[in-house]
Symmetry: C2
Subunit: 118 residues, 2 copies
DNA sequence: TTGACATATTCCCATATCGGTATATGATGT
DNA sequence: ACATCATATACCGATATGGGAATATGTCAA
């Protein structure tokens, strides 16, 4: 077996940096293919192919307007990524948590001292 | 050019579902390779290979203990993913935001009515 | 030293990729 | 009908993949 298809899920679709750039560009608002081509300085067929992948995982929506096709983000497709990675968020702020623990203990000691005084 | 290496960055490393499972398992605490093999029901060489990829992007750390190797998560490697995807978080709760706006307006009207009564 | 155990690496195959070039499809205006 | 513009698709090449099987490396214990 080879690597999973890029269209397998949002995780795979978004692993490609240019596809993230496309989403970032679309996050600012609807864009036509040629606007994306111009702004990202990529070949037109390449942009169309990346957009197809994003479409297949539901990360973008298309609207037809004459000969143009207007793409927009559908961020709901990214939620699983956010849900998964958020579970790890606490871990890289571990030092802050450790600090919080220390502060909590200091507060408790302070309070206990106050109780002693009372 | 082919697809970017899985070791190119955390986005690529984490696109593979089994590697996410490995991280999820390690999130509960340090595990040896054979513990991972047993719990995830994967072939040992496969687990070792996936761990290598995760090591190369810095998502796991290894500690040697006799003939065992104990792996643990280093979640800092996942922060770029979180940072990127978080920018889209607002967008999938857009409906809720819209709903909140409506509710806020209703509340304001209610309050204004009360003011009129006063 | 020898053997058992834990892990990593190598070799192999089938597969899907990304990017380029060329071409097809489809809409617009004359 | 025709030429033009906007986009999508097809074809090609080079490349790296994930999984399996076999093997290498390294550690412990007797």
């Amino acid at each position: 077996m080879a690597r999973a298809a890029t269209t397998a899920d949002a995780f795979n679709a978004v692993a490609e940096p240019r596809r993230r750039l496309i989403l970032d560009e679309l996050a600012a608002g609807e864009r036509s293919v040629s606007e994306l081509v111009e702004r990202l300085e990529l070949a037109q067929p390449l942009v169309s192919k990346h957009l197809r992948v994003l479409r297949e995982v539901g990360a973008v929506a298309v609207r037809e307007d004459g000969r143009q096709r207007l793409y927009s983000v559908d961020a709901r497709a990214l939620k699983p990524i956010h849900d998964w990675v958020s579970r790890y968020e606490r871990m890289w702020s571990e030092r802050f948590e450790a600090l919080e623990t220390v502060l909590d203990e200091l507060k408790r000691e302070e309070r206990d001292d106050a109780d002693d005084d009372a």
